[in-house]
Subunit: 219 residues, 6 copies
């Protein structure tokens, strides 16, 4: 069962045969990955039917369950709360495109040097943009990218909010409005940047490892 | 209606008479507060029955709706996701006491110099501990507090995770285990610290203002 | 005797009966405080008549001797020099109001995260302004306060001078002149900010503890 | 008259002939210096007989009045308070040698990159030690100096107190005790470091210029 | 001729037909790259036979001339000095493997967030190690990599030397010796880290763009 | 023999009589210096005739071999590469005067607090400018110097490139162009700043000690 975090410490199991947990077929798309998902020894919980269905959907659409979900799967309530917030922020209709939201995710994760999120969301930027170099630029130094004024202002705000949140003031919000963002957009930029400041820290605190498959995606 | 964020920009309304929004009786316990809840002009959304009930419960138990909830109330889905994650983290059964979780909230918010969270959660530390000075110490410099080794290690981890998340390693987790925290506790410390790194940034990005009532609580 | 710094290491004494030191009646207004004033084991010195009179005046006017004075009282010359400089800076006629000087004190102490000064001078801002929230704002993040341009420029200068003194240049002084400060005012802003950069460090270096009474003042 | 701060803005005066100010013969030992003492246009005050005598003593012993004193001379009370505190800290009997106190002054001023204090107190370290290189090392990077364990611990404490005062704890004080410092010495190290954190900022805030003569002293 | 830095500002040329410069066939392996090599408008110099031969060798072995060489090619002496130092450091026999030297290059470039060097040397780590993930780890956060004690100590030294060179002391060198490095190895670690602190800054200062081909190498 | 780095660990040798190394007469102009040149125990290499000639020329022109050259002399190829790059950058014809290049060297070394380079290149600024105070200003805080707009912009760029290379953008280059620098000058400013970011780190990593003679030069 992929959702166990410290595999090495657990007895070997054959895929699909774990008796006391949810039955999720092959969540480990990355069979070559023999590291644990996190440094914490947390046992997978019995997942709700909704979460089991969600994991299955991940496998069907992505070919694997993202390790961050497997990591949260030690507690169904936490997993549900994380999934609800994540999906609303990153996938719901919004004045920011999905690519823009992923660009924020990566620029924030670069500021925080988060291995998990840089890997997983760097792949998302490459996929959504069809531009592998853009993903690298977001991960390495967004200031080196040739961006529209809108996207540059968006990332400047997100990265300042990450590094010196106490210095954000009306002037910073005005800068976003001047390039066309609405107040609702400002909320969304802030919420996405805020969310990855959370996720980066949960990932770093637990030494969360990305699914190896991300590394090869959309290069 | 308290959930409107920029009151000044909206036509004056008599409490309880707003026709196009949800009916929430008197969420503004702090009548003396004439500032907006945030700097963003976002209109309150039609809330779900669950969220309306939740706001009512806040008023009954606390005497007011915390402004962070009013701020999120421009979008019911976002409000629900926030409430679900918040309540799971801060109120669900856990190896950390509610006070300890609030201590993390305030120490993290102090690192990020977040006015909203220092005010609201500083009050919570004072209330839960019955020790007004402890709230001040968490907000000013947790290192000056006389803490148990357990609580000191917990806050050292949370504040390092806030300031230099990229430098957290196994040694830091081991330090928590040595003072008695389980791997599940380490997750919870990380998740609470992570959550306030998100909330601090949403609050700072939007200039969220705390309900004035917090300032006088449990002094 | 209040001026002893590490009470715990000294033999118990009945108030007013200490034979080998100066006789100061009840300087410990905060009887409930069983912590030492500092972490250093320094014996109170024989104070000069002027300093004894000054301590008495403190008790009469404030109801207690501020612990910073008790901390300096191990050496009469140091106490006198501190009192002379402090009183000139904070109480003498000046282009800055007493409240403005205290606002600088707290904003600087917030930058330096000094528990003693945030507590004692936060109380002073609350008292002098009659605005408890202003004290909290100065201690938490002065940028979140709604200030006049004059006061905002004053605090921006004081906090930059605290954090990056090497980057203060004519342009910074010009910014103060543009909002109406004279060159004499610029000296005073600098001198008050400088003084608390000293006091913050003496307090932090010695683990100086504020009189508990401050916490409840002017809430 | 040396005590005027912005000479350029004032009418030219012949030394010793200034009618409306104190009569101080030739405080400008550095005749070649045509810059102002500070960037502030503050007129010299009528000095008290004690301060006039003190300035004369400076000229007799040093050959000049240090510019910091000339800078404070716009206000006799401020000058007296500064002189009293300075002389007590740097010249009174103390567990630290005068050289050690000057070493702290320079190491702190290096951290704060203060041109005035590095120049004036760098000269003092060279003079007191008879070791010109020691002065350079204190100004450039005290960590590169070959110091006794005692002096290294002293400077480590002073520089940490300068850069991160909020992180000073009992462990730091214990480190000083272990190399032989008494609690009184810890106070003095802290007070000297604190004092230069003040002076550095007053000097930087006012663009105070050192007497040129310092540059050539004790090379 | 590939060595022109701001192509856009120069008249279009057919490859191999540039009359006034050295004849280098097709140095632009990355034909799809329509950006300039740097932000500076510097004309390619007449290269020495040795440098022309070296560029040809690059094309034969790599399939392209690395843009950093094209950038330096505005001045033959500077190009020769750069090539000599680079080749000695990165390719000459040494106690560090070529992979280890490239690991230092990338970890240093990550600290400095240098887009050019992260791209070019990230590719080198992937190629030399045959481990694409190792390249990502070096670029994102070397602390997340599972390294031998030797390599971890090597990178800790290189990154500390990058971020706080003034804090490197004998203790840091001892840490390298304890994991088996000789004094000559310490020189080499320092020299490679130093070199990339130079190159990162030349690249960032001139907005140097990596050859696009690097992005796809050894994934 | 001056090129040995850790003299103390090597058998005593009479000057000029070292059998297994190059014969360099008296490279130690500073006979009073009994410290090692670096903290590394590296034996001097057999130098090429060109390097031997270069060392002799140093002695003739300067009266001594700069310790940085002696430090590199453990390996002839590294010494040659260093000398070639150094001489091209600092001595070749260039839009920046030799003094300006040395000013960059010292301002960068001040940012990095490098004892070796501050000492050696501080002396160069004093010598080339004939203004001892300018050397001190560059070493202590270049912002306190009265500079032309050109030189101030040059040093602002060099120091920003040193401290936050990832934040250098077109706007920074434009600032240089506006005060008259050509694109070639921008390269040179960057290359000199970059070079000292390398040298500072090699010197700090190896505890390189400057020839004592520098301290007294051009005071």
């Amino acid at each position: 069962m992929a959702v166990s975090q410290k595999k090495a410490k657990e007895p070997a199991q054959k895929p699909g045969k774990r008796p006391d947990g949810p039955t999720i077929a092959h969540p480990q798309a990355d069979a070559g990955d023999d590291t644990d998902i996190t440094a914490l020894g947390l046992k997978p919980a019995q997942l709700s039917p909704e979460m089991n269905a969600y994991f299955k959907k991940c496998e069907e659409k992505l070919g694997f369950v993202p390790n961050v979900l497997a990591a949260y799967a030690f507690d169904n309530a936490k997993l549900e709360a994380f999934v609800a917030m994540y999906n609303d922020l990153m996938l719901a209709p919004c004045g920011l495109s999905k690519l823009e939201r992923e660009m924020i995710a990566v620029a924030v994760s670069s500021q925080n040097r988060c291995y998990y999120c840089l890997t997983a969301h760097g792949a998302a930027v490459r996929s959504l943009s069809g531009d592998p170099v853009l993903g690298e630029l977001m991960a390495m130094n967004y200031r080196a990218a040739r961006l529209s004024k809108r996207q540059r202002a968006m990332l400047d705000f997100a990265v300042k909010l990450t590094a010196q949140p106490w210095e954000i003031e009306e002037e910073d919000r005005e800068r976003l409005r001047r390039v066309g963002f609405t107040d609702r957009d400002i909320w969304d930029i802030s919420a996405v940047a805020g969310f990855f400041n959370m996720s980066n820290r949960v990932a770093s605190a637990t030494d969360m490892r990305p699914n190896p498959v991300y590394h090869r995606q959309a290069r």
